[in-house]
Subunit: 563 residues, 2 copies
């Protein structure tokens, strides 16, 4: 049986003041309440109370991973370089990777994520389609040498993660493994008491196809995302799309040139003409694998170059230079327009067929108006490349989107065959021929989930844990007199015997006020005080979140708390 | 509720042959039975079955540490250099330490053990004698860049360890914390089913006072130890002492010189004189912090220079060189004797007062006989410096000692104030003045304990786990026919519902012979076969260790196995 935890023996030192360098709630409160301690930049020690919360989160993750048939393994964190060289990530990770040599001079790295090694494990252990599908997971320490480790345990350089990997022989199988994870993640975050959104994501450096992120809205978050107030649409800002809606029936006069001296920017042009920037068409020139291409967006919108690069990957995207303009006298810097342009023309869907624009006339100091898409110029390819703004229409229902900050607490990917191709991971198929395996990769930041919980649940008094992750179910406070301490210890033992996890503040020489403040800071969901009416055997139960209080006898308290 | 584990879905590939590079049982069998996989030299992956065993060991350790009031924490593995520089271990560890730099060029190491960081944690968290004693522990991944990683998970470069640290204000408190650990370790190793001895140890590089090792006798072990067949004495070979017993009443003639040309070694001398080597006295010259010192031992014994260095630490011990002899014409190489010698004389207790020896006469080609200790020379200091040999007398009872090989599975140390001094770890004492804290450090190799279990418990058929650590309680084998598989799955579900941990071999297209061989290799304690009499609902229960078989109905099997 578990033991009653006694504050008099527990290593927990609470602080009245925030650490000087703390910017986020989780950093301030987890340190002040004695849950964690900084060992180095982005490198943390989990103290006894923090370890309990961490283990509770890990337990929930483990239970739900087991429930979808996940098999737990434990891979090393110290990894040989070769598999990561084979996948190209040894270079791609750049400075994010901790690299080291052993005594013989061989190269190693500290694992940031383990796709390569899991692929090798399965190649070694699974030979036939009969051995698949398989879902493997681990809860393990990972390393990323972040340039700016910050925000407490939210963004560490050493951190704990649950990473899992699915291996299937068919695309349908992968979709099924992905769906199992998606449902498991929903159960996990619900059990943890996290408010979250599932958003579609561009998979980025992982190189996959379908991919979704689980975001926990929080001011301290490093991700921005859009959320529709009217429907259940939510997305990573990079993944928002804008529907292409051709404008039909509108009549526009013929395009006409305008004398616009010294107006090479949208601002100078709009001011000169006295029109809103949104009436103008901005044409950005870029080089795609060396070929000059123009990208058209409304004049009031910004191009997200990262998003453009993602769309055009694996092609390389660069901005054009003065030399490029010098080579191409047909491209007039500051006065480019799509009409008659001799380069490929990409555009935002807002530049829809039938829309009319003020844009460059491809002559110095000259623009043109009533330049109509589909009449005066054609778009070769539509791409969502503008930076999403608050109020942009929801792709699902058209309502104005909200933009918020969030913490990425989970990520699920359909990786496909990228790593299987690298390591030639085949199994014998039903027809006796080799089948290339297809993979998914799925992550939950376990230490980060603790941080997200704090960011979402703490209040001005301190931490305020959901029951499932709290380091105890009830915090019994002995106000100080002998009769109070006696009652507190008695009820603590009885609660413990009834299976309730108890922390009891039995410290001598600490004032009741300090004990109450500490109890609120530590944030166990129920606070049971042996105070004024202890001699009668009456305690006060306080709900940490709502502050509601109630007087109960010992028997009533046990019945209530063990229910 | 836990689920039935099905071999058809479990990632486990058994091998008929030992891995080519495997030398030890644990390496051979853990790989062949699909428990672990080598990722790099001394760096292992725990596969699903191995992870279960590892977790079972960790659970036992955790329960017993909690029972002595240990508080679990989790420290980082990636550590800043500075605390280890302060203690001197950044240099002392030499090549054993994995060192690396972060993106800013700061120096880090991968923690081999955490005395420094725990000291800092307690300095930060504990301010008063009221906050002590405290026992902190973690089960964590450690790193040591072994020159020759070998022997499977027995001696890895990345490995899992339980390390704990006690903090007390008094020597009595430390003795109590040490005793608590000693008792907890006994319970842990008993529950794990390990055969072990507790031996006194020289604390070595850790720099402490009292220290004991827990050794698991096994041929694959890297430690040698002595074990008394007649009493319960056991010790690290380096810690064996020999009682000094002066010989009284024996009369010896006066010492007499012997002409012994060309006999500078014990072998040549003994042969020349026709006496046993044990009749001669060997005098080794060494420099202790630059001072020449002689060490006398019986001619048939070897001096253990490591043991000598331990005894004389922190003084530096070196062998004398030809130059040293050149500087000291009174020291005649090959013919040194203690009588009239002008250097300090240390000796093994076998060179007791009253014993007579043949030894060098401090003249070229000359020895002396009947040189009596206490009459012709004096011993300045007695030290146990000879290599222990089989048959040496037990220090406790005098019986002839046995020498065996063993695996060090645990180590407990009274460190004292070494690290507290380094980091000035004081707390406020009862009298209001600072008290320097005294520490203990205690380790159990968790991954190593798994290896030790294999080395001790495996047989020629494969692994053979004690119940508490086995990956399941019972291995149900469906011989192959539909009725057999049906019965096997039915009984597996019923056993699972009764709280029995079940692995069921439900693989299709695998012969009964292969399944039986795999079951023996995998080593779950009970094997329940749905075979020949499945149609009648009768199964065969086989004890993996004894091979005893018995026929049981489903109800009987459930009653037996859930008992």
């Amino acid at each position: 049986m578990a033991q009653v935890q006694r504050m008099s023996r527990l290593m927990v030192k609470t602080l009245r003041d925030d650490p000087a360098d703390a910017e986020t709630l989780n950093h301030k409160l987890l340190v002040r309440a004695g849950y964690v301690r900084r060992t180095a930049a982005g490198i943390w020690t989990w103290l006894p109370l923090g370890k309990k919360v961490y283990e509770n989160v890990a337990r929930v993750v483990r239970e739900e991973m087991d429930a979808i048939g996940g098999q737990e393994v434990l891979l090393p964190a110290l990894l040989p370089k070769e598999p990561y060289e084979a996948s190209g990530r040894y270079e791609e990770y750049g400075d994010l990777l901790f690299r080291l040599k052993d005594r013989k001079g061989s190269d190693y790295l500290l694992g940031p994520t383990h796709e390569e090694i899991f692929t090798q494990v399965v190649k070694d252990q699974c030979a036939s389609y009969k051995d698949l599908p398989v879902i493997l997971y681990q809860i393990q320490t990972k390393y990323r040498d972040e340039a700016r480790p910050r925000a407490g345990v939210l963004r560490g350089r050493e951190f704990q993660m649950k990473d899992s990997y699915s291996f299937d022989t068919t695309d349908e199988g992968l979709a099924e493994s992905y769906a199992l994870h998606r449902a498991a993640y929903q159960r996990i975050f619900e059990r943890l008491g996290l408010d979250y959104r599932i958003v579609s994501a561009i998979s980025g450096a992982m190189g996959g196809s379908a991919s979704e992120e689980f975001l926990a809205p929080a001011a301290a978050g490093e991700d921005t995302f859009v959320d529709c107030p009217a429907c259940d649409y939510a997305a990573n800002t990079e993944a928002v799309t804008f529907a292409l809606k051709p404008v039909e029936g509108a009549e526009h006069p013929a395009a006409q040139e305008l004398d616009t001296p010294d107006t090479p920017t949208i601002e100078t042009l709009a001011e000169h003409l006295g029109v809103p920037a949104s009436a103008t068409l901005k044409n950005l020139l870029v080089k795609v694998d060396g070929e000059i291409v123009a990208v058209g967006v409304p004049g009031d919108r910004e191009v997200d170059l990262g998003k453009l690069a993602e769309h055009l990957a694996p092609a390389e995207v660069e901005l054009v230079t003065a030399e490029d303009f010098a080579d191409r006298p047909d491209l007039v810097r500051g006065y480019v327009g799509p009409q008659g342009l001799k380069v490929r023309y990409l555009a935002d869907p807002r530049v829809a067929p039938g829309t009319a624009w003020i844009t460059g006339a491809n002559k110095p100091d000259t623009h043109a108006k009533d330049v109509v898409c589909g009449r005066d110029f054609e778009v070769d390819q539509y791409l969502d490349v503008v930076v999403v703004e608050e109020g942009d229409p929801c792709p699902a229902c058209g309502a104005g989107l909200k933009i918020g900050r969030a913490i990425e607490i989970g990520h699920i990917f359909q990786l496909g065959r990228k790593y299987a191709d690298t390591f030639q991971l085949d199994v014998l198929g039903q027809n006796g021929k080799p089948v290339r395996v297809t993979m998914g990769s799925y992550g939950i930041g376990v230490s980060r989930a603790v941080a997200a919980l704090v960011e979402q649940s703490a209040d001005d008094k301190g931490l305020c844990w959901p029951k499932e992750v709290a380091p105890a179910d009830v915090h019994v406070v002995a106000a100080g007199k002998a009769v109070q301490t006696e009652l507190a210890l008695d009820v603590a033992e009885k609660l413990n015997a009834a299976g309730v996890r108890v922390l009891v503040d039995d410290r001598a020489g600490v004032s009741p006020g300090v004990k109450f403040t500490d109890a609120e800071l530590i944030g166990i969901p129920q606070i049971l005080v042996a105070g004024r009416r202890s001699a009668e055997g009456v305690l006060e139960l306080k709900d940490r979140r709502t502050g509601e209080r109630e007087e109960l006898t010992v028997a009533e308290a046990i019945a209530r708390l063990s229910a």
